[in-house]
């Protein structure tokens, strides 16, 4: 109790203007910032993968499998911030057992299950099935058994069967695109449909979320591709990097335009909330929104990538620029989520005062848990990359096909 009062006393000092008594404590903290950030990365990485399968962008093919595995690693972690925030994770299964169709939040379980089971796992399975079969024959020990289980007993790797796998993967990607839109559009919908909150309530919210998801997903895969290729000591495919950077730039232009449209619309409408929102923007969110999100996270990376398009730079410099831009974009998108989630709770419903939010270090919603939840997808991705190496297939099938011919 005393600790709570101490925290309250600290928070009270930061309050400006008039707020209602129950507004001093923010209900959605750091974990709810991480949740849309991670979900956005899933949707973005998947949409990048779909560029290869559906839109036949050959240049980014080296990142296809990496994108899928990245999406899977992050998707597996997507519900964890919610479970940690709500507590009692054992109750989360109730939303599947007794579904409540009129609640958007309750329906998320089904969107998630659909995306995981029907879209992502199926696509990865079809994409890797041939490799699974080969690895189940060439590997030894536990790995052999594991790969055999992964094949689900479907050992046919004849040309027709592999051709069918490709077609199936393409078909799933086609279904996957609207599903990815649904997955992340839903997160925007949750915020956009809170009509009592002028910072959130906007029909553009799901669309802005979607485009920022694409930006973050492409940037993450670019970032990972660069680092992984360096660690593996392989040559970086500059055509792929250039194309990724181009798509990143296009997505950023669209995302930034949409956000600017939303901003201009709000300013022009000038609803009663505009005064407090502008105060919020220039006080509590000045650094995180104007400096980090807009300047560091959007304008600088956009300018840097645009620079590489205008002036011919050596590939070594280009890829470093892409790497820095991708990193800045990640920081920018994280603060975008922060500004939406925390920003929306920093002003009073009276529209006459501003609150404050201080991240705690320990506890289930603290900084340490947040860092862990942000690192966990990378650990899972590491395991997935060890287990399902995206680059290994290129060598093996040749061997296999030779063996088959013999």
């Amino acid at each position: 109790m005393e600790k709570l009062l101490e925290q309250l006393a600290l928070a009270l000092k930061e309050v400006t203007g008039y707020i209602y008594p129950n507004e001093i404590e923010l209900h959605w903290g750091l974990l709810i910032v991480i949740y849309p950030y991670i979900t956005g990365l899933v949707a973005g990485a998947f949409i990048l993968a779909s560029l290869v399968k559906v839109f036949n962008v050959k240049e980014v093919a080296p990142t296809y499998r990496l994108s899928l595995l990245t999406a899977l690693a992050f998707l597996l972690c997507a519900p964890l911030p919610l479970l940690a925030h709500l507590g009692h994770p054992e109750r989360s299964f109730e939303i599947f057992l007794t579904p409540h169709f009129s609640s958007a939040m309750a329906m998320f379980g089904f969107v998630y299950a659909w995306y995981l089971l029907v879209v992502l796992l199926l696509e990865i399975w079809f994409e890797y099935r041939k490799s699974f079969v080969i690895w189940s024959r060439t590997e030894k020990g536990l790995k052999k058994i594991l790969y055999y289980i992964f094949t689900l007993g479907s050992m046919d790797i004849s040309d027709e069967a592999v051709e069918f796998d490709h077609k199936a993967a393409k078909f799933i990607t086609v279904i996957g695109i609207p599903s990815a839109f649904l997955l992340h559009g839903y997160v925007g919908f949750i915020f956009g449909s809170v009509k009592a909150n002028p910072w959130w309530s906007s029909v553009l919210m799901p669309i802005v979320f979607l485009f920022s998801a694409m930006v973050s997903g492409i940037a993450l895969v670019l970032f990972l591709y660069y680092i992984i290729t360096l660690i593996r000591g392989e040559k970086i495919d500059m055509k792929c990097m250039d194309k990724l950077a181009s798509y990143l730039l296009y997505a950023m232009i669209l995302d930034f335009s949409l956000e600017a449209l939303d901003f201009i619309h709000r300013v022009y409408e000038s609803e009663e909330s505009i005064k407090i929102l502008s105060k919020l923007l220039f006080s509590k969110l000045f650094v995180s929104l104007l400096i980090i999100q807009v300047l560091l996270g959007t304008l600088i990376p956009m300018g840097l990538i645009a620079w590489t398009k205008i002036i011919k730079l050596p590939s070594e410099l280009r890829r470093v620029i892409y790497f820095i831009s991708a990193f800045l974009v990640q920081v920018g998108i994280f603060t975008t989520r922060w500004n939406v989630v925390i920003g929306g709770q920093l002003f009073s419903k009276s529209l006459k005062g501003l609150m404050t939010y201080k991240v705690e270090l320990m506890g289930t919603e603290g900084l340490l848990v947040g860092i862990f939840l942000l690192l966990l997808p990378f650990i899972i991705l590491y395991i997935l990359l060890k287990l399902l190496p995206p680059w290994k297939e290129e060598a093996e099938p040749v061997k296999e096909s030779k063996e088959a011919h013999v």
């Binding site: 599947f96 057992l97 099935r129 689900l152 479907s154 050992m155 069967a161 069918f164 796998d165 199936a168």
Partner: protein
């Protein structure tokens, strides 16, 4: 049908079957009978001990008191709000006697002065208002109209009184601006006091032509805030405008 599809169908059918088997064990059998909840919970709730009797039951024996109360300011209060849960008393009146609040702090839960309470709601300062005397010595809780009607407005409008004494309007009596009919003291909501209905009223002191002290702030009473009554912008019990010294 390709082998892959067959295998996937087996896996998915197995998953769905497992889901429904688990569901059949975990979802309570009566779930959804009436709505999105466990129907048997209604029986569980019904089987809990009843604590409250309800006013209708009280009236069966205490009709005289209920009649007095129904004509008083406490008519909307249920008997058990003050006397506590009385189901046991209704079943065995001699064995269980309901609680009778007699201390000052109980009444001040509602009637102690608190600035967030609505204006006109009877409020007293428990320290100053007839100290140490139990409320029920003077007020019959079943018909709590004060034995004497308040002599001053602050008897009920304490919040405004406290605000006004700190303002430049401290020396003005309430009746300078409000005409309160005598019935207002007995029946405050049916007979409301008046409010100034023209700008000229405030102009008596605040217009440029007013023959009063120079320290009183002056405005052009015709054009200043044209179209509004003065008190629509200035809170008259604590007017924020200050005199600007003439050079």
């Amino acid at each position: 049908m390709p082998q892959q599809v067959k295998r996937l169908i087996v896996v998915f059918v197995a998953l769905i079957l497992v889901f429904f088997v688990i569901r059949s064990f975990l979802v309570p059998p009566t779930f959804g009978e009436y709505g999105h909840y466990r129907a048997s919970s209604v029986k569980e709730i019904l089987s809990q001990n009843i604590k409250y009797a309800g006013e209708v039951v009280c009236e069966e024996c205490h009709d005289d008191i209920v009649e007095i109360k129904s004509g008083s300011y406490h008519k909307r209060l249920s008997c058990e709000t003050c006397h506590g849960p009385a189901y046991e008393h209704s079943q065995a009146p001699d064995e269980y006697t309901p609680y009778i609040p007699s201390k000052r702090d109980y009444c001040s839960l509602c009637h102690g002065y608190n600035p967030s309470r609505p204006t006109g709601f009877p409020q007293i300062d428990p320290v100053k208002h007839n100290p140490l005397r139990p409320c029920i010595k003077c007020h019959n809780p079943h018909d709590p109209t004060p034995p004497e009607v308040p002599k001053e407005c602050k008897g009920c409008h304490e919040e405004i009184y406290r605000t006004k004494i700190l303002s430049p309007h401290a020396l003005l009596n309430c009746t300078e601006c409000h005409k309160a009919p005598e019935e207002h003291k007995i029946n405050p909501r049916a007979f409301r006091p008046t409010k100034p209905s023209s700008r000229k009223f405030c102009g008596k002191c605040h217009s440029k032509e007013a023959k009063v002290s120079e320290e009183i702030p002056r405005v052009d009473i015709i054009y200043h805030g044209y179209g509004n009554l003065c008190w629509e912008c200035h809170y008259p019990h604590f007017p924020e405008a200050h005199t600007t010294k003439k050079e």
